[in-house]
Subunit: 108 residues, 2 copies
Amino acid sequence: MTAFTQLPEPPYYVVIFSSRRTEGDHGYGDMAQRMVELAADQPGFLGVESTRSADGFGITNSYWATQEAITAWRKHAEHQMAIERGQAQWYEHYEVRIALVERAYSKK
Amino acid sequence: MTAFTQLPEPPYYVVIFSSRRTEGDHGYGDMAQRMVELAADQPGFLGVESTRSADGFGITNSYWATQEAITAWRKHAEHQMAIERGQAQWYEHYEVRIALVERAYSKK
């Protein structure tokens, strides 16, 4: 998961998910991997980049073709269950920001 | 640096900086801290969230009031020097994406 993703030319959307984990795994690792695999199968999914430092603070930026694709993924039944368990058990806190990517460039 | 930032209501801009570090520090830690302090003094700076996993892959999302503020920061002389050294020495690779944040919400 800690790697660059290949994206098309903008415009496209990003869901920025910043989070601090609670202590212990409690099934989080398996679910996080399952959610990445499931998201990758959804219409309009473009890619994901995710990283977390040793102190438990992480950022996951997932990229989507349209707002409709983001809404559909948010309503996906299995994802809904993960969201609920995330709120109850896995995350001390999280912030979500949804943004329209207008420009992109890479290291030369 | 690995903590949540407080942001106003959208809209505002985000600069998404995904990077993989080279091996060794080579003055990177000091410069990274200096750049966060300097950015925080720039007009239009709203906040920053940053994290890096043990394998060297990191994401820094910095938040800005306007595109003009992002452009001015990119042209800042001391930041320019850091960008050049980053290209030459500190980063194996990086990707930059600039996006307009339209919606935001938090863990309930």
